[in-house]
Structures are given as C-alpha cells and as structure tokens.
C-alpha cells in the first residue's frame, strides 16, 4: 500500500502547489490577452500580497527595523486589505510604467515589466530585508488522512480558495458587462474598440485583476511555505510555464497547466531529485515549445502576427 499512499500524497501536494501556479498563470493570461504583454512582475504580486498581509496581521519590523508595523489586524481583514493594496499597486504599475509607454513595441513593454519586477524585488528587500516570512494557518486542527496520505487543512484552503476564485472569474467574465467587455478585448482588440470599449480602461482592469489574483495566491500559500523578497521570480517563472502549457490565452488551459505542473514537479522531486525540483518546470517548458514548434512547422502555421485582412 506504500506506493499507493505515496502517489496519493504526491497528488495532494501537487494539486496544492499547482493551484498557486494556476492562479499566477491566470494573471499572466488575463494581462496577455488584453494587452499582449508578458508581465514579468506577475509573481511579485503574490510576493507583495503575502508580505503585506504578514505586515498587517503580525508584529513585523520593517525598513531595516527602523519601523515596527504593529497593526495586529485580524487575519481575514488583513487579507482583504492586502488584496486591495496589491490591486492598487497593479494600477500604479499600469499608470506609471505601462500607460506612459503607449505605442511602444511589445518588446519594450516586456522590458518595462522586467524592470518593474526588479524594482518590486528591490523595494521589498528594503522594506522586509532578506528574511523569510510565514502566515498562521487559516484554521487550526489536525490534517486529514486518506489512504495513508496526508492532506492538511491549509491544503484544503488553497484548493478551496482557488476553486472560489475560478468560479468568481467565470461569473465575472460570463455574467457581467465589464467582464464581457474584457473578454471582447481579449478576442479582438480592434473589434472591441469599434464597439466603443475603452482599451485603456480594459488594460488597467487587466492589471488590477491580475494583481488581485496574484496577491490572493501569495497569501493562501504562505502558511505552508515561506515567502521572501525574491520569491516573485520563481512564482513568475512557474506561472509562466503553466500559462504556456495551457496555450497562453486560455483561462481553462492556465488552470489545467498549473495543476499539471504542480503534479509533475512534486512527482519529479519525489522520484528524481529534490535539488533540481525547480528545474523541472523548465524541462517541461522546453519540451512543450519544441513540440509546438514541430507541430507548427508541420501544419505550415504562420509565424507572423495577423496583419489584418
């Protein structure tokens, strides 16, 4: 029975980790669909979400111990505030860095988000130093045991929160005017403009929405893993791989990609080597791109942007 419970354990851990990748991948997809930008600062939203939540809820010395943040807010309130703050940061990023570069090439815009990623990382280093931070688990209590595999309550929270966010996003995109407008923008920017949809507003919305999703991802994972100023890099990378696995423009694909990547990683780390756990994502990415390339070449797909009819 040992193998069965071990596999089940991998599945539980994989799905939990994968949920986070899925959320970050969703953030990538939302911004990419609406603006065409690959946002390198996506993982930093998660890092900021977690560290802001920590600062609001527990006594935290910040800015090189010059200040001590002693808000001591209850966890739920801290979480909500943190998500709001990070959403605001997403808006600020858009207004300060993306909007002023209007008309710049996609490459320039991507370089801007690379710059933003490092600016965020440096600011976080100044604010929180290089220490690892954690949050308390959301609910106390022993773990569940299923066929010898352990599922902690926090794991359930991660999976549950991800499911709720997905449902909320689904309702937002399918049932609200704003969501439909955003989707129209993603399908065809030109047509959306013809319909009178303000592309700038939609781009802003995509950054705010991605920031909020990212923040939530960072917060919900932090009780199970530590978060530090440089965690954003890995989260961005993994989220990106998940988004690519899902095709880079499909929300469903991003979620499936995230979950699969989480499972691959856990199984790979378990069977092969935990030292190279972080390398697995890139081997997967590389394999996908290679396959996509050969399939694309065989199908004679256009390598060009659609130049208009």
């Amino acid at each position: 029975m040992a193998l069965e419970s071990q596999l089940l354990q991998y599945l539980f851990t994989g799905v939990t980790v994968g949920s986070i990748y899925a959320l970050i991948a969703l953030g990538f997809v939302v911004i990419h669909n609406v603006t065409g930008i690959v946002n390198f600062a996506q993982g930093d939203f998660a890092m900021l979400g977690a560290l802001v939540a920590v600062t609001l809820t527990t006594r935290t010395p910040i800015f090189n111990r010059v200040f001590v943040a002693d808000f001591d807010l209850p966890l739920p309130l801290g979480i909500v505030l943190s998500v709001l703050i990070v959403s605001l940061i997403g808006a600020v990023l858009y207004f300060l860095a993306i909007r002023p570069a209007k008309g710049a090439s996609i490459v320039s815009l991507i370089i801007i988000t690379i710059g933003a990623h490092f600016a965020f990382q440096g600011l976080a280093l100044i604010a929180w130093a290089a220490d690892p931070y954690g949050l308390p688990v959301f609910t106390r209590g022993g773990p569940l045991e299923i066929h010898g595999a352990i599922l902690t309550r926090q794991n359930l929270w991660v999976i549950g929160v991800t499911a709720v966010i997905l449902l909320a996003l689904y309702l937002f995109f399918e049932r609200t005017m704003l969501g439909k407008a955003l989707r129209a923008c993603a399908i065809n920017r030109l047509a959306a403009r013809l319909m009178g949809i303000d592309a700038n507003r939609m781009a802003l919305l995509s950054f705010v929405l991605s920031a909020a999703i990212g923040a939530m991802a960072g917060i919900v994972i932090t009780p199970s893993t530590f978060m530090g100023y440089d965690s954003g890099t890995f989260l961005s990378l993994k989220g990106f791989v998940a988004a690519i696995m899902g095709g880079m423009n499909s929300a469903t694909g991003a979620v499936v990609g995230g979950l699969l990547l989480g499972i691959f990683e856990t199984v790979g780390a378990g069977f092969i080597s935990s030292g190279y756990k972080d390398a697995i994502a890139f081997i997967v990415l590389f394999a996908i791109l290679f396959v996509r390339m050969s399939v694309g070449v065989r199908k004679g797909q256009s390598q060009f942007e659609e130049v208009g009819m």
Partner: protein, 343 residues
C-alpha cells in the same frame, strides 16, 4: 584598415584604441584598472546582447549563463584536463554555441517572446547546477586555481597586461560585429528588425538569422567569461546570478539597441553606476547589502523604455537626426518660397 566597413568606423577605431592605450597612464590605482577590465568584458557581452535585442527583437535574461559556461568550461579544461588556455577558451565557446543553438531553435521559430522566460529559467537552473555539482564546479566556494592566460611563452600576469588584452579582444569583437552589421547578414538582420514579414517575403529566413545572432551573442559571452576566469583565477556562483543578466540588459538599454559602438558606453555607465551604488548604498541605507541596486536598474529600464525605447544612445542620435532633417526641410521650404517670390 581595408577590413573595416566605412571610413568613420576606421577613424573611430583608431581614436578609441589610442585613448585606451594611453588611459592607464592616468589611472591612480589597480582598482581603477580592474574596473576598466570589467568594462572591456562587459562591452563584449553587451555587443552581442545589443545585436540580439536590437535586430532579433528578443530579450535574453540568461547571458550570465553563457558568461558562466565560458568561465567554468575553461576552468575545467585548463585545470583538470591541463589544456592550454586558448584551446580551453575555444572549446568553451564551441560548447556554449551548441547550447545556445539548441535553445534558440524552438524559441526563435515560435512567434512570441518565449526566449526571455526560457533564458531566465536557464539562469536559475545554471545557478542550481553550479552550486550543487560541487565535484565539477567547486560549489559555492568557487572553482580555484585557474591559470593566467598564456600564449606560447607570453603570460599575462599583471592587471595591466590583462587590461590591454581584454580591450584588444573587445575591440576585435566590435570590429567583427561592425563587419557583420554592414554586410548581407547585417542587412538581413536589420530587415528583420524593420519588418519581419517584408524580410521573409524578400527571401530572408528570419528564424535562421535570429538563431544565428543568439548564438553569436552566446559565443561573445563565453569568450568574455573565459577572460574573466583567466584574470581572477577563481570563479564562484554569485557572479552568474540573474541580477547580472539584468545588468547586461540595462547596459544594452543605455548603450542603445542594435548599436555596436553604444556597447562601450552602456557597459561603462552601468559598471560605474553599479560600483557607485555598491559603495554608497550601504551608507545611505543602514544595513543595506548593496543588492538594492536592482531597484535603480529596474527603474532605469522602465524610464529608458518609456522615453527612449531604442536605448539611450540610439534614441538620442535618432532624435538629433530627425531634428536636423526637419531643420533642413524647413530651410528648403524657405529657399523655394524666396525663389518663388523673386519670380
């Protein structure tokens, strides 16, 4: 000088080489010589990345990996296998080229900006390998005992000798790059940059040239990495951190995309700025380790891309040329208005 493209470039070469030759006479200490050696190495790295970013329109966040491969492979071949330095350097460049080629093919054939993320990931993996495979790389303590560069009986012992050699290689790389830019291959690359679709329909295999320029940038990086290893005699993982790859992108942004000469300017500016920040930040911010300099680089990247998306030198030159063309056009209009009045 016949081998140089254009007279301006030839004159520029003589001037720059002359300045670099006499510069050491004005340097106060060895520290300043070391900084200038770094500028030479970073110039080599920046030229390659500038061609990649400027012509192929692709970003590499993994140039530190190729720099590191140059260093580690050279170190291993010279120390463990007892090879002569030049052979070690050449084989390192060859292996690096093969890796870049393998990575480049899928990345550059697909539409989209995968290369940036993939190379970023590559950098992460490279660091893992270098730290974990202690038996091969020396692990976190570094690879020690790399010999000085030597060729025949000539050994480069002092920093000053290394200074001249590093700049000799840097100028050689600049010259080769200028030759490439002003050739059929360079025109194809510039065409890709101008309009990828038009370039394709003119018979340019765009993917092929993108891969070539990526491989070229990797080879340059590897050569710089070998020189670095010969110079210091020890290499350790911290040098090849992602933040160094970012610094290189900043150098390109400042030196100008697709600008060969701008590379020196970009490399010098960022190297000096980084030294300055490393020395002053800890005083400004109590307990700052100096790593906070990445904020400055992040902000510089954002500002440059907003205001001068072609990079600082290229952008300024372009604006100057446009201004001058505008003024000439104005003059012509005035002149024709006058002659019309005379009739």
């Amino acid at each position: 000088m016949k081998r140089l493209a254009g007279r301006t470039n030839a004159i520029a070469f003589i001037v720059v080489a002359g300045l670099l030759a006499i510069l050491p006479a004005f340097l106060a200490n060895n520290y300043q010589v070391s900084i200038l050696i770094l500028v030479a190495l970073y110039t080599i790295l920046t030229v390659g990345l500038s061609l990649l970013m400027g012509y192929a329109g692709q970003i590499s966040l993994g140039q530190a990996v190729f720099y590191g491969m140059g260093g580690y492979i050279t170190a291993w071949l010279t120390v463990r296998a007892g090879w002569p330095p030049l052979a070690g350097m050449a084989i390192a460049a060859l292996i690096t080229a093969v890796l870049a080629y393998i990575i480049g093919i899928p990345m550059l054939r697909l539409r989209g900006n995968y290369l940036a993320m993939v190379t970023l990931g590559l950098n992460v993996i490279f660091e893992l390998i270098v730290i974990q495979e202690t038996a091969w790389t020396g692990g976190p303590d570094g690879f020690r005992g790399i010999p000085k560069f030597s060729l025949g009986g000539l050994v480069l012992r002092t920093d000053l000798e290394m200074y001249y050699f590093a700049w000799f290689v840097a100028l050689l790389v600049l010259m080769l790059s200028l030759n490439i830019v002003n050739s059929r291959v360079g025109r194809a690359l510039r065409a890709v940059h101008g309009s990828e679709i038009a370039a394709e329909t003119m018979g340019v295999n765009t993917a092929h040239y993108k891969v070539q320029v990526f491989v070229l940038s990797a080879v340059y990086a590897s050569i710089a990495g070998s020189l670095y290893a010969f110079w210091l005699g020890i290499i350790s993982p911290s040098v090849y951190h992602i933040s160094f790859s970012i610094e290189l992108v900043v150098m390109v942004a400042i030196g100008g995309l697709a600008s060969v000469w701008g590379a020196i300017f970009g490399a010098a500016t960022v190297t000096l700025l980084a030294e300055f920040l490393r020395n002053t930040l800890p005083h400004l911010l109590r307990g700052a380790s100096g790593e906070q300099e990445i904020i400055a680089f992040g902000v510089i990247l954002i500002l440059v891309m907003i205001f001068l998306p072609e990079g600082v030198t290229t952008g300024v030159m372009l604006r100057y040329r446009r201004w001058r063309a505008g003024r000439e056009a104005l003059k012509e209009i005035k002149k024709s208005a006058e002659t019309m009045g005379a009739e």
